[in-house]
């Protein structure tokens, strides 16, 4: 196995009865890459992602994530990835510190390590003043930045972000992306789904799913050239409309 390829997917398929939600998708993602995973509602994005993070069994195909087989070593995958979704991120009724301690704990970090980590993390995000404030009372942008940091608490090889920046103001969104760049620069692979097509342009490479298949996969620049489009939004529209 190539050690630079942290995700290798070949012919991965998921059927629900007669319905093929994910139809033989194939791609590789390299270490430290920011990979955008796009698609219309119902194109199969979420189903594909669930298979990669080891919570849904594929019908057929091959997939290796962080060096583990999704069929046989789903539990090992979970230990080596981070996950953040817009829907569920942190507990609103716990404080910033309590959230960090809790998530550090479920990933098996030692108490000493959690303490170190939470100090670094709070300092980096500039949350010193609100460290003992309930997360529920923080602005959305802060929550999402904190949530991203928490998903990295156990230094995972890959972090999966499911529509991480919905509804956040443009400045905070950029700060969020700066954090993503930083993580990628330190060697963490970032796998991100989003509805913001302008956000797709931040990614190193993007794939676009249509009806369960990956219809395009390349750097944003090359995709725009190939489809003669001004931006990723037009690329997406051209593809999805067929």
């Amino acid at each position: 196995m190539n050690h630079n390829k942290v995700i290798q997917v070949e012919g991965l398929t998921k059927m629900f009865g007669d319905f093929t939600a994910v139809n033989a998708i194939t791609f590789d993602i390299e270490k430290g890459e920011i990979f955008g995973f796009l698609g219309a509602n119902g194109a199969g994005k979420t189903t594909a992602m669930k298979m990669l993070i080891g919570i849904s069994n594929p019908t057929s195909g091959k997939a290796n994530v962080a060096g583990f087989n999704v069929f046989t070593n789903a539990e090992d995958i979970k230990k080596n990835i981070g996950y953040m979704s817009q829907k569920f991120a942190l507990y609103d009724d716990l404080t910033v510190k309590e959230n960090i301690t809790f998530f550090g704990g479920i990933y098996g970090l030692s108490i000493k390590r959690i303490k170190e980590k939470s100090e670094i993390l709070i300092q980096e995000l500039g949350l010193e003043k609100v460290a003992n404030t309930l997360v529920g009372s923080l602005p959305l942008g802060w929550k999402q930045k904190l949530s991203f940091s928490v998903s990295l608490i156990h230094d995972p090889k890959i972090v999966f972000l499911d529509e991480p920046t919905g509804g956040v103001d443009p400045i905070t969104r950029r700060q969020f992306w700066e954090m993503i760049y930083k993580a990628a620069n330190q060697g963490t692979t970032v796998f991100v789904t989003t509805h913001y097509m302008d956000e797709a342009e931040y990614c190193d490479r993007v794939s676009i799913m249509v009806n369960g298949k990956i219809e395009a996969l390349d750097t944003p620049k090359k995709l725009k050239e190939k489809f003669k489009a001004a931006n990723m939004n037009d690329v997406f529209l051209k593809l999805a409309r067929g």
């Binding site: 698609g39 219309a40 509602n41 119902g42 194109a43 602005p139 959305l140 942008g141 529509e163 919905g166 509804g167 956040v168 103001d169 443009p170 400045i171 905070t172 950029r174 992306w177 700066e178 760049y181 930083k182 990628a184 620069n185 509805h195 913001y196 097509m197 302008d198 342009e201 931040y202 944003p220 620049k221 931006n231 990723m232 939004n233 997406f236 529209l237 999805a240 409309r241």
Partner: protein, 300 residues
């Protein structure tokens, strides 16, 4: 004027949701309220649809006062709240029928208005609303809000969580509705949708930052903006942030949008600086400001 808002303020406990908001929406205008979550968009919508009472200020919709004439307003506006607010356990047709009935009308009576939209979901009319895809739900919600032929249509973040294809279709529909004489006030967190409105108001933290046409708003941005790119995005951002003359540094897709403090900014100087930071493939070129640049500059 279809909607007038003067000096509206609203607070919840210790949060100031809206602070002294004033603007007008003209008859038959497609007006966009652009801002992130928590900016106060929903609160303003609820005040205008008579669901909330402002602490201060007055507002009228279709000529009626939002407090004293609230019953008249409820008869003459269509409202699509932020989250999907239809009965999930009723079918498409049952939902539409229900809303037609409570507004004292029938689907047939105003079919012209919703026809364009309804034909797209008609094949699924016996499906429960809860089982529709995001784009379909949104179309059904729009049909329900239109069924009584409202004069003013309020759409609170109708395109949130919807994929670009459905979003595009949705905006096309709004344009057609506007041609039929309906005034539309729409809110969205997507800056790229702002360009599709006649006029927009940028809103953040309960305050209006700017109101104008999308074209005019970007002209308010006075500084020249430069697209900068290099081989390593992260190092590029860090280096630019460390550069003593920077005014703003924002990643923008494959570029970084950079503005300089100095009037006599020299591209070559910046390039040399970046080269000392071991960056390669450096490109710097002038670009035009977007609504998002304007928003960030105003919100700074």
């Amino acid at each position: 004027m279809s909607i007038t808002i003067s000096n509206i303020s609203k607070s919840y406990k210790n949060v100031k949701a809206l602070q002294d908001i004033s603007f007008e929406v003209k008859e038959n205008e497609l007006f966009g309220l652009i801002g992130p979550d928590g900016a106060g968009k929903t609160t303003l919508f609820r005040i205008l649809t008579t669901l909330l009472i402002a602490n201060e200020g007055t507002a009228t919709v279709a000529g009626f006062d939002v407090i004293s004439d609230y019953k008249m307003i409820r008869n003459s506006v269509g409202y699509m709240p932020g989250k999907f607010s239809l009965y999930q356990d009723l079918t498409v047709e049952e939902n539409l029928n229900f809303f037609a009935t409570i507004f004292g009308t029938t689907i047939e009576e105003n079919y012209d208005l919703i026809k364009d939209i309804y034909v797209q979901i008609e094949p699924f009319k016996d499906r429960r609303a809860g089982k529709l895809s995001g784009g379909m739900k949104q179309k059904l919600a729009l049909c329900c809000a239109l069924i009584h032929k409202p004069k003013v249509l309020f759409l609170d973040e109708p395109t949130t969580g919807v994929d670009p294809v459905s979003r595009k279709e949705f905006w096309d529909m709004l344009k057609r509705l506007q041609q039929k004489g309906i005034t539309i006030l729409v809110s969205t967190p997507y800056m790229d949708e702002a360009a599709l409105c006649d006029r927009i108001a940028l809103i953040q933290a309960g305050k209006i930052l700017e109101i104008d046409t999308p074209k005019a708003i970007v002209k308010h941005y006075s500084k020249p903006i430069y697209n900068v790119r290099a081989n390593n995005m992260y190092q590029l951002i860090n280096s630019l942030n460390d550069y003593e003359y920077n005014h703003s540094v924002y990643p923008f897709g494959e570029f970084v949008h950079y503005t300089d403090k100095r009037a006599d900014f020299n591209q070559k100087e910046l390039k040399m600086y970046l080269e000392t930071k071991n960056l390669t493939d450096i490109e710097i070129e002038k670009t035009i400001a977007t609504i998002e640049d304007t928003f960030m500059e105003l919100a700074k």
